[in-house]
């Protein structure tokens, strides 16, 4: 993570810092319907059925691709993003102007080598960067969906991706890869479409959301909904934005992405821009200042209702539930090769949950590789420069490519 630099403005309460330029707001608004990335539009003849019951149509899915699809169409890798990620895995985010979120993993010569593989990354269903979500215009009303969009699930997200992949002319993906909520999608792919996934890499993830996970998400959602600017979910039409609520939600969630140890090492009880306690409720401590910064940069790029939808989708995730509660039954007879990775300090999706997935895969007789990577940086480790992770993914993909009869990633990173 980059060293902490904070604007001076953070002296008083959170709201003083939550000023957003109109340009940024309208940019985010336009990305929801007309993304600057590629987008696949499905008409009323290709409705998307949802676990909640109703189907939606027309609908759309925004995506990016990198590299070239080979003649056999056998080198495609789908990358699934995490909770508040996007399709810009290895290209500049149009709203924030920041580089892609997984450039250590994806690119020329990287483990997911765009010189060898055709890489697809799409914005999730319920997201806010061009795939149909609560910020998208409801074709029936001409207004943003808001809460009129049915609640979506991880399986719905995957169903939408499968329709995209089919439209791109790809029958079987060489790999589906994801961390955190992206890992849930990767596991869901293997469960829903075993014949369409040659290999799966699921990082820092789980087969179901725990009570504690749901609890943290509920705090976040309540914070959003308690903000008067939320307007019952109709803030876009009201020209408002529940920034304070969303920022608090992000602050709470952000704590769960780090470990106690990494927080202690990074901030300890250090004071922010002062030599002594101020005896007030300003951000005395660096950690407070850091969290406020995380909160306020988040609201600039993310839609509040979208946050409700994606957190709900992960809460509802329980792979075994549809298979009599037995996880091994989910993967019965699968031929997909699995790679499961966890991190020692990840308490959001602890290693024990990855192990449960691995045990189920073993019981199902599936080929599986599993490593618990030593890292003290918590759940976010999967996005950080932890060389072990990239080495293992490179090795796993090399073996899988050999088995599939296609070119694997370059032997090591380009200098």
């Amino acid at each position: 993570m980059a060293p902490l630099t904070l604007p001076e403005a953070e002296e008083t309460m959170l709201d003083a810092t939550l000023t957003e330029t109109d340009a940024q707001a309208s940019l985010r608004r336009s990305e929801a319907d007309t993304p600057s990335s590629l987008v696949m539009r499905f008409g009323t003849d290709a409705p998307l059925t949802l676990d909640a019951g109703p189907a939606i149509a027309p609908w759309q899915i925004a995506y990016q691709t990198y590299g070239e699809l080979n003649a056999d169409r056998s080198n495609a890798i789908l990358i699934c993003h995490a909770l508040t990620g996007d399709q810009h895995v290895a290209s500049t985010n149009p709203v924030t102007g920041k580089p892609g979120w997984w450039t250590l993993m994806v690119g020329p010569g990287k483990p997911i080598d765009t010189d060898r593989f055709f890489v697809i990354c799409s914005n999730v269903l319920g997201g806010c960067l061009g795939t149909t979500g609560p910020a998208s215009t409801n074709p029936e009303t001409g207004r943003p969906y808001g809460l009129d969009l049915p609640v979506v699930t991880i399986a719905d997200m995957v169903r939408a991706q499968a329709m995209l992949v089919t439209s791109l002319g790809i029958e079987q993906l060489f790999a589906v890869v994801g961390g955190s909520m992206g890992g849930m999608q990767a596991l869901q792919w293997a469960a829903s479409y075993p014949d369409r996934v040659f290999s799966t890499i699921a990082i820092a993830t789980s087969y179901r959301h725990s009570s504690q996970n749901i609890a943290f998400h509920e705090v976040g959602r309540q914070a959003v909904m308690a903000d008067p600017d939320w307007c019952g979910g109709r803030y876009l039409e009201a020209g408002r934005n529940p920034k304070k609520g969303l920022a608090v939600a992000r602050m709470a969630a952000h704590i769960t992405y780090m470990s106690d140890r990494s927080l202690h090492q990074k901030f300890g009880r250090n004071l922010q821009d002062r030599d002594a306690l101020a005896f007030g409720f300003d951000a005395d401590f660096q950690i407070e200042s850091y969290l406020r910064h995380q909160g306020m940069t988040f609201v600039d790029r993310f839609d509040a209702n979208s946050y409700l939808y994606v957190t709900r989708a992960t809460d509802y995730f329980d792979l075994a539930a549809d298979h009599g509660g037995v996880l091994a039954n989910v993967f019965k007879g699968t031929k997909t090769r699995f790679c499961v990775l966890s991190f020692t300090s990840d308490w959001l999706y602890p290693t024990s949950e990855s192990r449960a997935v691995v045990h189920a895969l073993n019981a199902a007789g599936a080929p599986v590789s599993f490593v618990e990577i030593d890292s003290d940086r918590g759940h976010d480790s999967f996005l950080l420069d932890i060389p072990e992770q990239y080495r293992i993914v490179r090795g796993f993909l090399t073996g899988a490519a050999r088995a599939r009869g296609i070119a694997g990633p370059a032997a090591e990173d380009k200098p």
Partner: protein, 211 residues
């Protein structure tokens, strides 16, 4: 597939021996697979469906990096998760002496696999006996390079000890191969007592009695 006979001499002799015991195309679980050298050899020369368990992170990383299906796990605690008879062979190569409950591990292996292959260093070897008897010290050698206080090898046994354990858990010894200190195979006709004295390491092929 590469033929076993074509392998260069840098492949460890006990791994080559184990590979020779495995039917081509079978399902194999290697417990304590280290960096996956045996699994890779089996994939290459025997076309097996190879799986491994390894406790050390370096080992797992190296094995997964080779494209092998290896999981980080512990022989003492993680074998229960595998269904009965889910592998054709379960291999324990130079690992039994590092397990906490060797008997339990062997029983689990006989449950999981139709056949069980165990290779082990023989603590009854002449060289070991010599060091203990004349130097009065726990043996440290090229084959057993650890000092007593930091060795992962907590349950050493002799060839005779192992044969007795195998009998106790209801295993039948289908094949036994004993190598001397130079890695040469001892003649089959020698009595156990000689094997136990001259054998530096042994490889056993077991199956559950009555099958």
């Amino acid at each position: 597939m590469t033929d076993l006979a074509d392998l260069t001499s840098d492949v460890r002799i006990d791994l080559k021996l184990i590979a020779g015991l495995i039917e081509p195309g079978s399902r194999v679980l290697d417990i304590g697979c280290g960096d996956g050298a045996l699994l890779e050899l089996l994939e290459r020369t025997r076309g097996v469906d190879a799986r491994g368990i390894e406790i050390s992170q370096e080992g797992v990383n190296a094995a997964v990096g080779r494209g092998l299906s290896v999981i980080q796990g512990d022989a003492d605690s993680d074998l229960v998760q595998y269904p009965d008879q889910s592998f054709d062979y379960v291999v324990l190569s130079h690992t039994i002496q590092a397990t906490r409950n060797a008997r339990r591990v062997l029983e689990e292996m006989l449950r999981i696999g139709r056949r069980v292959v165990v290779s082990l260093p023989n603590f009854g070897h002449l060289d070991v006996r010599f060091r203990l008897m004349f130097l009065g010290r726990m043996p440290v050698s090229k084959r057993l390079p650890y000092s007593w206080y930091d060795t992962p090898n907590i349950h050493f046994c002799t060839i005779r000890d192992f044969v007795e354990l195998a009998r106790d858990v209801g295993a039948r010894v289908d094949q036994a191969i004993v190598l001397d200190g130079a890695g040469k195979r001892l003649p089959f006709s020698l009595p156990w007592i000689v094997w136990n004295l001259l054998g530096a390491q042994a490889v056993f092929l077991l199956s559950r009695d009555g099958r």
